[in-house]
């Protein structure tokens, strides 16, 4: 008898859970509220675990990776020197270009203000390529703004809090970016394949003169999600399946999406 009751209770509970989950799928308002509430509950636990785990993790990582850290530091110093040199050279060109694009009324990222932020969290799951950053609405960051780093487009802001934001990387499977190359006459769509797999593009017309090494940048088409001219990726391979009428491309992202530490949010909102 007791077993029957337990079984009934289990079934009832399971059905209730499934019903709740299904309802949540279709009522984003409720889910947003639940997310915010659950965040408040989990924060003290995360804080406590972090307080204990982080120093231990840093100690272990520092001990094991000390020589790597020294090597990385030297490399970074060298790169910083090169970057400063290039920045000085680029300043004059950037000014000229800005004058030209202002005259043509074309948005250019060099003329747009940016907010620098630190990457503080990685995606907690295997099935989303996102990062959490250290600045949010209080710094003027809004949903939809593009994010750049390390020489290229990184992604766009998909959620904000007063002091933080979530950025969906262009390698996320839900991400797609309109890009162009060379003369800018052909636009193609670049899709994410996941954090570990990079980017690809399918359905590229056969007449397109695209070869490995071609650099792709955002097309900035009217109503697009990104301003024109942001470097996105370089073509790695061009393949043609026998019988197919289009090329498939595998792409190397312009920015190193797997080792992001700092990035810039471009204070630009998609039109409309």
């Amino acid at each position: 008898m007791a077993t029957d009751r337990t079984r009934r209770r289990t079934w009832t509970l399971s059905i209730a859970v499934l019903a709740t989950v299904l309802v949540l799928y279709f009522t984003t308002g409720v889910s947003t509220g639940l997310r915010a509430g659950a965040n408040i509950v989990i924060t003290p636990f995360s804080w406590a675990v972090n307080a204990v785990a982080r120093p231990i993790g840093h100690l272990l990582a520092g001990t094991v990776n000390y020589s790597d850290v020294v090597e990385q530091n030297q490399k970074l110093r060298y790169q910083l020197g090169l970057a400063e040199e290039r920045a000085n050279e680029a300043w004059a060109y950037a000014r000229q270009l800005q004058q030209l694009t202002t005259g043509l009324d074309v948005p250019f990222v060099g003329s747009l203000p940016t907010v620098s932020a630190q990457v503080i969290t990685l995606s907690p799951t295997n099935f989303a390529a996102t990062v959490g950053i250290s600045k949010g609405r209080d710094s003027g960051i809004l949903v939809g703004m593009p994010v750049v780093a390390d020489g290229g487009l990184v992604g766009r802001v998909i959620a904000t809090t007063p002091s933080g934001a979530t950025v969906r990387l262009i390698s996320d499977t839900a991400s797609s970016v309109g890009v162009t190359f060379k003369s800018g006459k052909t636009s193609i769509v670049v899709s994410g394949r996941g954090l570990n797999s990079g980017l690809d593009s399918t359905g590229v017309p056969l007449g397109t003169s695209i070869v490995p090494g071609t650099k792709l940048s955002t097309d900035g088409l009217n109503g697009g999600l990104y301003p024109a001219g942001l470097p996105v990726a370089t073509v790695k391979t061009v393949t043609l399946t026998p019988g197919a009428a289009t090329y498939n491309l595998t792409l190397q992202p312009a920015a190193d999406l797997r080792h992001l530490a700092y990035l810039d949010v471009v204070l630009w909102e998609p039109p409309g």
């Binding site: 209770r9 509970l13 499934l18 989990i42 995606s123 839900a174 570990n196």
Partner: protein
């Protein structure tokens, strides 16, 4: 059971915090080990059906608040794993004391192997057809191995916490 609910809830929240703070950054071959799935599974293998389902819901929902994947999907997979494991746990399969040492880890490994598939399959319910593209096989293998390694200590912890209130 009611007396165990509070400690189980607290431990579940700690598990979620550990997942978010440690396991989500500590990637193996680029894969996150999902202890938020292992915890309810272990509770189920300990034969604590109701508590296992409760853990699954709490761990899944709280984890989902931090992920950009469809809300509730992690919870759904956790509920399925917890329920399946608790059926086995009730029959004494995977019992830490009476079964062979490898039975619990093997069951957990099997669950770790199929959990990402359940997740991707579940995402189709939300009309999201792109999640399978992101290293599904790697996620299956890494989670299976990690679940195999962590199953016994986790099940022991589950049994200890679950029986704190004399739960069955």
């Amino acid at each position: 059971m009611r007396r165990a609910l509070l400690p189980v809830t607290v431990v579940t929240l700690i598990v979620v915090a550990v997942q978010l703070s440690i396991f989500s950054s500590l990637r193996f071959a680029g894969v996150v080990v999902m202890i938020v799935w292992l915890w309810p599974l272990a509770m189920g293998l300990a034969g604590l059906t109701t508590l296992a389902l409760w853990c699954a819901i709490v761990a899944g929902v709280f984890f989902d608040t931090h992920a950009t994947t469809p809300f509730g999907l992690t919870a759904l997979v956790a509920v399925v794993l917890a329920y399946g494991a608790s059926r086995l746990g009730r029959e004494g399969v995977g019992d830490l004391d009476s079964a062979a040492w490898w039975v619990t880890p093997l069951l957990a490994a099997a669950a770790g192997f199929i959990a990402p598939v359940l997740f991707v399959g579940g995402s189709f319910l939300t009309f999201n057809f792109s999640l399978w593209r992101d290293g599904l096989v790697a996620a299956m293998v890494v989670n299976a191995v990690a679940f195999f390694v962590l199953a016994r200590p986790m099940t022991r912890l589950a049994r200890w916490v679950g029986h704190a209130g004399g739960a069955r």
